[in-house]
């Protein structure tokens, strides 16, 4: 069952992006930024948490899930450290993913050479 919901929710989040690609002139970078910020906002107003409970990786894998991780991290850190948590919480919670992306990208640049399409 969790696979089905992951598929449907994840797929629908991708469809929203596809609609933005088709009907607006938003560049891919802007869509990614919008998704992350939307993830933070939706988590803050309490909508994204239940979605993650329900759809699991269907909600955490899209980039809104990155925003969810940022917001959850900040929430936890503010509870523990007060105002300093507002600065440390977001990046601490997402540091693993960012470091992994940078490290693998660097490794790919070491190994591979660009090729024409």
């Amino acid at each position: 069952m969790d696979y089905l919901w992951a598929f449907i929710v994840g797929g629908l989040l991708c469809v929203i992006a596809e609609l933005l690609i088709c009907y607006t002139k938003l560049t891919a970078a802007r869509i990614l930024v919008a998704y992350v910020v939307a993830g933070v906002v939706l988590t803050a107003i309490g909508l994204y948490g239940p979605l993650v409970e329900w759809a699991g990786c269907g909600a955490t894998t899209p980039l809104t899930g990155f925003g969810y991780a940022l917001a959850e991290g900040v929430k936890k850190a503010v509870a523990e450290r007060g105002i300093f948590g507002a600065l440390t919480g977001g990046l601490t919670a997402t540091s693993g993913g960012i470091a992994a992306a940078l490290a693998f990208a660097f490794a790919a640049a070491l190994v591979f050479k660009g090729k024409p399409k």
Binding site: I21, K25, A28, G114, K115, P116, K117
Partner: protein, 357 residues
């Protein structure tokens, strides 16, 4: 009619002697097939970076053009060259070994027409016997500069055009040279049953440089729409001043308007009562098999018009299959910076009339 609406006529018969073409893999597999002088299976031309590949393409193109005439580069009095990369480095590096006085051009995708016009001017005026016009574009170097990294996974809109990987070198010289120059005479007399490597019947008759036109199009994925008004403007001025109509020409061919721009140019001119018929075509539509190769609106880039004019149109003019051709080199004069700042894209269209003579 304004004072500067003027057609430049070349009385001293500047002629196109030969051209060299260098193509990438997709162009080699495209609708024109293997008619180009040389191509690369991986688009690198043996070079470590895409920018160097593009330089190498220009070098190869001019080499081929000269070889067809059995000339060395000292016969050239001047060369005009340009490309799409910042500060025209492809031309700067690519033509470095020829030791010919060099004037760099930037006309975006209209560079070929601009180069041909300037070469015709200089030959017609008698300053030099022969001059070269060289241009190139490379899909990967252009993609890097104007859009995204090459491996970036993005979806292209149907209006987007594919930058052609190709280079063309054209040698323009005084017509009388064909009967005087010994090397040309011996090159001309090719063995029977073989096509002559050089052109003997192509003349640049007239030219009309375009004006910069900007119509508010800001979408860099729809350059055809940005360039269509510029092409329409030049054609309109030309028909007005020359008193001719589209039917008087065997072929009216634009540089790289592709599907969108081709349609819009026809519609804009129809608004002014000029109806372009089936003799109106576009290099961006000719070069690829659009459906099979998934090329969206068609080809673009300096190499697009260079390859089509050199490999498809000039041989036909030389053989007399086409006698009177209008070529309008179109260019979108934007930079990555101007696009990011949201400025509308200015465009230009230079007209060259080529005749069988």
């Amino acid at each position: 009619m304004s004072k500067n609406d003027r057609i430049f006529k070349f009385e001293n018969k500047p002629a196109i002697f030969s051209c060299g073409t260098v193509a990438g893999k997709k162009e080699w597999e495209g609708a024109l097939g293997g008619v180009f002088d040389c191509h690369s299976e991986d688009d690198t031309f043996g070079m470590p970076t895409w920018e160097q590949s593009e330089s190498e393409m220009q070098r190869l193109a001019l080499n081929h053009a000269l070889a067809k005439l059995s000339w060395d580069s000292t016969e050239l009095g001047l060369m005009f060259a340009g490309d799409l990369i910042n500060q025209c480095t492809s031309s700067g590096y690519g033509l470095i070994d020829f030791d010919v006085p060099f004037l760099g051009l930037f006309g975006a995708c209209s560079t070929l027409a601009e180069g041909l016009i300037l070469a015709a001017f200089i030959v017609n005026a008698g300053y030099v016997n022969a001059a070269a016009a060289v241009t190139s574009s490379h899909n990967c170097s252009a993609e890097r500069q104007f859009r995204f990294p090459i491996e970036y996974g993005g979806q292209r809109t149907p209006t987007s055009q594919w930058t052609v990987t190709g280079a063309g070198a054209f040698i323009v010289g005084r017509r009388s040279l064909l009967d005087v120059d010994e090397k040309l005479i011996s090159a001309k007399s090719a063995p029977p049953n073989q096509p002559s490597p050089l052109f003997t019947h192509i003349r640049i008759a007239e030219a009309m440089p375009g004006r910069t036109i900007e119509c508010g199009i800001t979408d860099a994925n729809n350059m055809g729409a940005a360039m269509a008004p510029a092409a329409a403007d030049t054609l309109l001025r030309y028909f007005k001043v020359s008193g001719t109509k589209p039917d008087d020409y065997d072929l009216i061919v634009t540089g790289d308007l592709a599907f969108e721009g081709h349609r819009l140019t026809s519609e804009l001119l129809a608004q002014k009562g000029i109806h372009l018929g089936s003799n109106f075509n576009d290099c961006g539509l000719i070069i690829y098999d659009r459906e099979r190769q998934d090329m969206h609106a068609g080809g673009s880039g300096c190499g697009c018009s260079a390859l089509v004019v050199a490999a498809e149109i000039l041989p036909k003019i030389d053989r007399g299959e086409l006698k009177n051709v209008l070529f309008i080199g179109t260019g979108a004069l934007m930079s990555p910076m101007s696009v990011q700042q949201g400025l509308p894209i200015p465009a230009i269209g230079h007209l060259v009339r080529l005749i069988h003579d």
